[in-house]
């Protein structure tokens, strides 16, 4: 199709130039054009949180964000949270240790939200963690273990 636009994205510290239609979401740009499939599509309508990424350090839903909107802004996905082969991010380690997932599909979004939840200062109590992690649905029902993992990771990160 002819109405493609060229955009420059910075994903996980790397520059990417992409020719896409303006209507392509950040989520589809990541998954279908950049082979960064760690960010998940669960509902494509901003309801489940599986597509959560960081833009300029803030958590956003990549399914409700057009790729063209993040030109010139720093995007971090689950693949960029820790370097391959390097030590895991404390939130990732805590998720593994506390079995804070089963099928794993909501997990990248949960982890990206958890990092933000802690950075935002919303991991002060279990109830606060529950509230600020409620934008990310987990149908396997790992919630109690997610709360444990966020609580533990917050200690490590502080």
């Amino acid at each position: 199709m002819s109405n493609q636009t060229t955009i420059n994205l910075e994903i996980n510290g790397q520059a990417h130039t992409l020719a896409v239609e303006p209507r392509v979401t950040l989520l589809d740009a990541l998954r279908d054009h950049l082979e960064l499939t760690g960010t998940k599509k669960g509902c494509d309508q901003g309801q489940c949180g599986a597509c959560t990424v960081h833009v300029d350090g803030e958590r956003v839903l990549s399914c409700l964000t057009l790729a063209v909107q993040v030109e010139g802004r720093a995007v971090t996905t689950i693949e960029g949270l820790s370097d391959p082969g390097a030590e895991l991010h404390p939130v990732q380690s805590a998720f593994l240790e506390h079995d804070a997932f089963q099928c794993g599909y909501c997990t990248p979004g949960q982890i990206m939200s958890a990092v933000s939840c802690i950075r935002e200062g919303h991991a002060g109590s279990d109830d606060e963690i529950r509230e600020y992690m409620s934008g990310n649905l987990c149908r396997c029902g790992a919630y109690p273990h997610i709360v444990e993992a966020v609580r533990e990771a917050a200690k490590v990160m502080s």
Partner: protein, 764 residues
């Protein structure tokens, strides 16, 4: 091919043994985004399909105008019933031979809203989505019967095979000193895995590759093969990770056929991911159910009779049965019993399986009813359960293999503090919160199908386990590594597990909570065979370091082989392999009985459910058991219900990995909290649409809805139930949650809600 290995060491060495709390070995891939779910592959030249659904629930398609869609940039083809490649009807999952008629995944005759009628295939997802909105459909609409609440749906028709009767239930009820009778209802409920459904279909000649999240690779592969009249071996299905299924990814679907047809017609790989709203109508969830339960009892609360009449919705043209008498018939000792079930056709997609189909709504009925009886006769709800405790299976008249329900009641009550409960309703309160305690039991049968596995010992000492069985979060990768490690005697870090690929040894459906038991059994048998061959090699091979010992046997521990005669000098497995010049030792084993080991029965075992044994086949009745103790807080002004505390005690037999089993239990409990308080498919009675077909309106539990959950294992190994002593885990824990919450809400408020979910307007 996805390989999950255990290179990252986690926890203590003992965690790697069966029964140890090893962290899941597929975990590192899942927490880094590296796990490759089926639909995340991009074969060269892939194009995108989007389905067009019927907007009416009853009638027929008169015309489909595809001209605008076809003219849209990037569109390759618009499939309709008129131009779709014809395919055959396949054998169904029970193994029933198919009728010799074509299978038409795109419909002309409409029996439910959301039925697929066309598909647009385009170069990009955005183009296909935009063009699909341009397909114009003309219908001839007839008035739908939207649900079984519509009087026109009638009483449906009886399913005689569901009838269970003993004694004379009607007569005993008529003369019982205490009689209660109520109706209990559950709405349509949906699986809602976070990974939506779909597939990538790719033809190379007459070879079909499918990347599709699947709970049953071999069963679904068979269907695709029969649809397209190609040999079973020509279908390769890959499903390395599954983003949740809960029963909804076990059977082939219409959109699966559409994608494979499109891929064949275009000779391009086709990706078809249905939208989140389509996950409410492209396949069915749990049907709406209703049950009338009459209990007859003595004044002391001893049951004399149960009369149970029930019905569930089905689709207009097919039979879906949610077995509503499954728990009713085995939970309590009762001398007179009658259970009968109807199904009621309405304009819906055919209902499907959702976590504990049958047991779940069945338990809602009987576990609320027994609670009502406890209040009626004035005894404690826990005491009435013990008073009517079934010492043997009252229906099959066989002893339980194991039934640790009494132990569960005791352990759960103690941990919960049940003794602190004040007996009267509306008698516990903190400020504006009414507090209620509730209890209910649950059960899930042990289903058994023979399994198969390949275990290889490689020259470098690595152990490889292979099966087409799958891991959708239950922990299959992890517990099979633990099984092989223990059977052979190696550290779990040296085990590599390959799953989710039809080119690997066969596996039956990951459903009915059977996979862990049958796969650990098959891997155990195969691993012991590989171990035996390794030991034989080490004893007999002229180049073996053990040759001169003339030993009868050798031991293997921690990956080191040694002789009982000379325990001091141990040799690594890799060294034995090197010295004897072997590249690998392979053992492919199945647990089929000898009379089923021929080629046809082997195929039938893994591609249909016809060889699955019932829980009462043999000398025992085999089930898992559980009890849930719940504290709820109900706002006295607003009627909002919060589950504030829960303790569950569960008997799943031996746990292969308690860490992962506890996660599954808690997951079931959380889905049960959703069922009790939130989940309800709302059907527009005017047009048969599921109105809340998205995650913002069909409410599933969020993190903030769930309190701390305590789970207690009271199981003991049950080797009648499975080779290694486990019973059902995955579907057990949801059973009994909803009635426990309903009973707690009654205790808090004095209001008995008998139709789920328990929403605030029912309490104010």
């Amino acid at each position: 091919m996805t390989i999950v290995d255990t290179k990252m060491k986690r926890g203590d060495a003992s965690d790697g043994l069966l029964g140890g709390r090893l962290a899941r070995i597929d975990g590192p891939a899942k927490i880094t985004g590296a796990a490759d779910y089926a639909m995340e592959h991009s074969p060269e030249g892939m194009v995108y399909a989007v389905i067009v659904d019927s907007t009416i629930a009853s009638g027929r398609v008169v015309a489909i105008d595809t001209s605008a869609a076809e003219a849209y940039p990037g569109v390759l083809v618009v499939l309709t019933p008129d131009n779709a490649l014809p395919i055959k009807t396949a054998t169904d999952w029970t193994g029933a031979p198919p009728p010799a008629v074509p299978y038409e995944p795109l419909a002309r005759e409409i029996t439910f809203a959301g039925q697929h009628i066309a598909a647009v295939i385009a170069e990009t997802f955005e183009q296909a989505t935009a063009a699909a909105a341009l397909v114009k459909v003309t219908y001839e609409e007839t008035a739908p019967i939207s649900s079984f609440d519509d009087p026109r749906s009638g009483e449906g028709y009886p399913i005689d095979m569901m009838t269970k009767e003993w004694g004379d239930a009607d007569a005993a009820l008529a003369i019982a000193p205490v009689r209660i009778e109520q109706e209990y209802k559950t709405p349509r409920e949906y699986n809602v895995p976070i990974e939506p459904h779909g597939l990538i279909a790719h033809w190379e000649g007459d070879m079909l590759t499918l990347w599709e999240p699947s709970q049953w690779i071999d069963g679904m592969s068979r269907t695709y093969a029969e649809w397209f009249s190609i040999p079973f071996e020509n279908v390769r299905m890959l499903s390395p990770y599954i983003g949740g299924g809960f029963g909804s990814k076990a059977l082939p679907t219409r959109y699966g056929a559409v994608a494979a047809i499109a891929a064949k017609m275009l000779d391009r790989p086709v990706k078809l991911a249905i939208t989140r709203p389509q996950t409410f109508t492209a396949f069915g969830g749990r049907p709406a159910t209703r049950q009338t339960i009459a209990l007859g009892a003595t004044r002391e609360g001893k049951l004399l009779s149960i009369v149970h009449r029930s019905a569930n919705e089905t689709s207009m043209d097919d039979v879906a049965i949610e077995p509503l008498g499954s728990v009713t018939s085995i939970m309590y000792a009762v001398p007179n019993f009658s259970s009968r079930q109807n199904i009621v056709p309405v304009n819906t997609v055919k209902p499907g399986a959702l976590r504990a189909p049958g047991e779940n709504p069945s338990a809602f009925g009987i576990e609320c009813a027994i609670d009502e009886l406890a209040y009626e006769v004035g005894i404690d709800p826990l005491d009435i359960r013990l008073l009517n405790y079934a010492e043997e299976d009252p229906h099959a008249k066989k002893p339980w293999s194991t039934r640790r329900l009494r132990e569960a009641y005791a352990a759960g009550a103690e941990a919960f503090g049940w003794a602190k409960r004040s007996p009267s309703v509306r008698s516990m309160r903190e400020g504006k919160q009414l507090i209620g305690y509730g209890v209910a039991a649950g059960t899930y049968p042990v289903r058994r199908t023979p399994g198969e596995a390949m275990v290889r010992i490689l020259s470098n000492g690595t152990i490889e386990v292979a099966s087409s069985g799958i891991d959708m979060g239950q922990g299959t990768y992890t517990i099979l590594a633990q099984t092989a490690a223990e059977a052979i005697g190696v550290p779990v870090e040296t085990v590599v597990v390959k799953l989710g690929d039809s080119s690997l040894p066969r596996a039956p459906v990951a459903g009915g909570s059977q996979l862990a038991n049958l796969m650990t059994g098959a891997v155990h048998v195969a691993a012991l065979a590989a171990r035996d061959e390794l030991i034989g090699l080490a004893i007999n091979d002229p180049n073996s370091p053990f040759r001169d010992l003339q030993a009868n046997t050798l031991t293997i521990e921690g990956g080191q082989m040694s002789s009982p005669r000379d325990a001091g000098s141990s040799v690594a497995i890799a060294e034995v392999m090197r010295r004897t010049g072997r590249n690998s030792i392979e053992a492919l084993r199945n647990t089929l009985p000898e009379n089923l080991r021929n080629k046809d029965d082997h195929f039938r075992n893994f591609t249909t459910i016809s060889t699955m044994l019932s829980p009462t086949e043999g000398d025992y009745s085999m089930h898992s058991w559980c009890v849930h103790f719940v504290e709820v807080r109900v706002d006295v002004d607003f009627g909002t219900v919060r589950v504030s505390r829960m303790v569950s005690a569960l008997d799943s037999g031996r746990l292969y990995n308690p860490k992962l089993a506890e996660s599954q239990w808690k997951g079931g409990i959380i889905m049960g909290i959703g069922q009790a308080l939130l989940e309800e498919g709302l059907v527009d009675q005017r047009n048969g649409h599921v109105m809340n077909n998205n995650l913002g309106d069909y409410l599933v539990p969020t993190n903030a809805d769930i309190p701390h959950l305590e789970v207690i294992s009271v199981g003991i190994p049950d080797t009648n139930a499975s080779i290694l002593g486990g019973k059902a885990v995955g579907e057990l824990a949801i059973v009994g949650v909803a009635p426990a919450i309903a009973n707690a809400v009654y205790h808090a408020t004095g209001i008995r809600v008998r139709d789920l979910p328990i929403t605030l307007e029912k309490l104010i």
